[in-house]
């Protein structure tokens, strides 16, 4: 009985920790890689100076460190979700949700203010931005108001096994394209014109979050609860692929915009 209890507790904690995951490591890496292609020379040099690695290297840093001593607050589970109210507008929760934290960190670092910060803080802020800008564009990372009754717990069947909607979107890049590497994803997804990118990057993280929340509502129509991916019509599959393309690219462009603004 004791063993059963321990097993149940472990299982529960695994479920909890999974639900708090973001884009899978691949999605984060793809957005960060696309961002790298759109950094100004100065932003790229400064990111390399502080991080000593590429942006994709630290794309899942916030997931890795979230339960480690001293990082519980900065990497908190709340920092991975955009919370919206019944009217699909960001509720905001200062210092906690990704939208307000992206805005706060950007304002703290822009206009050369990062130069007066300790290098370790600059590096940590960059790692957080790389992750959170990706997260807020992940279709599974909008927390809707409970009364909105969206079927957030719906499942899709992949290779004969039911998979939670959240988990599907988190892992979609490698579920749909298991053999692609970063360069291939970038070639296929980094396809927007400079004019479109400029339009995409207009506005604030708050506006980006609100737009994402409204856009993602359509994903609830992509499949019926328990439906197999294989049985989806071509139109629905194309819609999933296009949304993944859009969200990963847009997340990358906006991450580049945030970093270019900080290191202007």
């Amino acid at each position: 009985m004791k063993a059963l209890k321990i097993f149940a507790a472990l299982l529960l904690s695994l479920v909890v920790s999974h639900n708090a995951m973001a884009w899978g490591k691949s999605g984060h890496s793809i957005s960060a890689y696309i961002a790298e292609q759109h950094l100004s020379d100065k932003a790229k040099a400064e990111c390399q100076r502080y991080l000593k690695h590429s942006l994709p290297y630290f794309a899942s840093w916030q997931d890795h460190w979230r339960y480690c001593d001293g990082f519980e607050e900065v990497c908190t589970a709340h920092a991975h979700y955009v919370n919206v109210d019944f009217s699909l507008r960001g509720k905001g929760s200062p210092d906690r949700d990704p939208v307000s934290r992206i805005d706060k960190i950007t304002k703290e670092m822009e206009k050369g203010k990062y130069k007066s910060m300790p290098d370790s803080i600059v590096a940590m802020n960059l790692k957080l931005l790389i992750h959170m800008v990706g997260d807020m564009h992940c279709p599974g990372h909008i927390t809707y108001h409970p009364d909105s009754n969206y079927p957030v717990k719906m499942k899709i069947v992949i290779k004969g096994k039911p998979m939670a909607r959240h988990k599907f979107w988190d892992g979609a890049p490698t579920i749909l394209h298991p053999k692609w590497k970063l360069e291939r994803f970038c070639k296929e997804y980094d396809t927007y014109s400079p004019k479109e990118i400029k339009k995409i990057c207009k506005g604030t993280p708050y506006k980006w979050g609100d737009v994402a929340a409204r856009e993602m509502v359509k994903t609830f129509d992509y499949w019926k609860d328990g439906q197999s991916y294989k049985s989806l019509s071509k139109d629905k599959r194309v819609a999933i692929e296009e949304l993944m393309h859009e969200t990963l690219a847009v997340g990358g462009y906006r991450l580049a915009a945030v970093l270019n603004r900080i290191f202007k």
């Binding site: 708090a20 691949s26 890689y33 339960y67 890049p173 490698t174």
Partner: protein, 266 residues
């Protein structure tokens, strides 16, 4: 030795790439090396392998399933004496295998093409192998042969209270799994990433001989084993922190492989 390598070559033609999916670490080391090889070395290696090195970085692993070649599994391990020195002459020790393969390559004009190719594939992989801390064994230190430990974290979910999460881990799995974090990277991109961090150390890292290299990794092993030990219960961050040691070892392996091949094909 010639006979063994010749047999290996024949078998490898059938078994090649069976483990390609888990090859990212070895392939990255090969990709780092390719960035620092002379044009002459690159050209000769390309001619011998008829492909770039990243395609041959896991060659030995494909041989193990053949019972006659099961002993090649030992070729990934380098054993140091209790003082941390590589003095072994054991024929299946990684360093000894590496020295013999280098000998074949240096004498390549008098060897068959198949033997030279097998020797080059062996060098490409074993230089990587001796830079994985899990592959260094130290006499009198049983822990270096491998052991289990547990990582734990207190999780605080957004919708649940605190939970204690424990995960079994092992000395070998820890060192082998770091590359899983970046398995969407191509070897070339991973190589460029590693170089951002360790590129300035290249001149320092590439010095020495295979025996010195194994001893050098052994120093890291001893330091790590002061913190991670059999049946230890450790906080998760320990494993996160050691990723930097893993990356440093990959950088060293890449620079050293390039230096070795440049000296062979000068």
């Amino acid at each position: 030795m010639k006979k063994i390598i010749a047999v290996l070559f024949a078998v490898a033609m059938v078994a090649n790439e069976a483990y390609a999916f888990k090859a990212i670490g070895h392939q990255t080391i090969a990709a780092i090396a390719e960035r620092h090889m002379t044009e002459k070395a690159k050209s000769e290696v390309q001619t011998i392998l008829n492909a770039d090195m990243t395609r041959h970085a896991m060659w030995l692993y494909s041989l193990r399933k053949n019972p006659q070649l099961a002993h090649t599994q030992q070729w990934q391990y380098a054993t140091l004496n209790a003082e941390g020195k590589s003095v072994t002459t054991y024929e299946n020790d990684a360093v000894v295998v590496l020295e013999r393969a280098v000998e074949v390559l240096c004498n390549r004009k008098n060897e068959s093409d198949s033997l030279v190719q097998a020797a080059l594939r062996t060098v490409v992989q074993v230089v990587g192998d001796i830079h994985n801390p899990a592959n260094i064994r130290i006499e009198g230190n049983e822990a270096t042969k491998g052991f289990n430990f547990t990582l734990y974290a207190i999780t605080k979910g957004s919708s649940a209270g605190e939970n204690l999460v424990k995960r079994k881990n092992s000395w070998h799995a820890m060192w082998h799994n770091y590359t899983n974090r970046h398995d969407i990277f191509s070897p070339q991109y991973y190589a460029s990433d590693i170089e951002l961090c360790y590129g300035s150390k290249k001149a320092e890292y590439e010095k020495g001989t295979p025996r010195f290299w194994a001893e050098n990794v052994g120093e890291d092993v001893v330091r790590c084993l002061e913190v991670i030990y059999p049946d230890a219960m450790l906080k998760t961050e320990i494993a996160h922190r050691y990723e930097a040691i893993h990356d440093k070892c990959m950088a060293k392996a890449g620079y050293r492989l390039a230096a070795l091949l440049n000296s062979i094909f000068k």
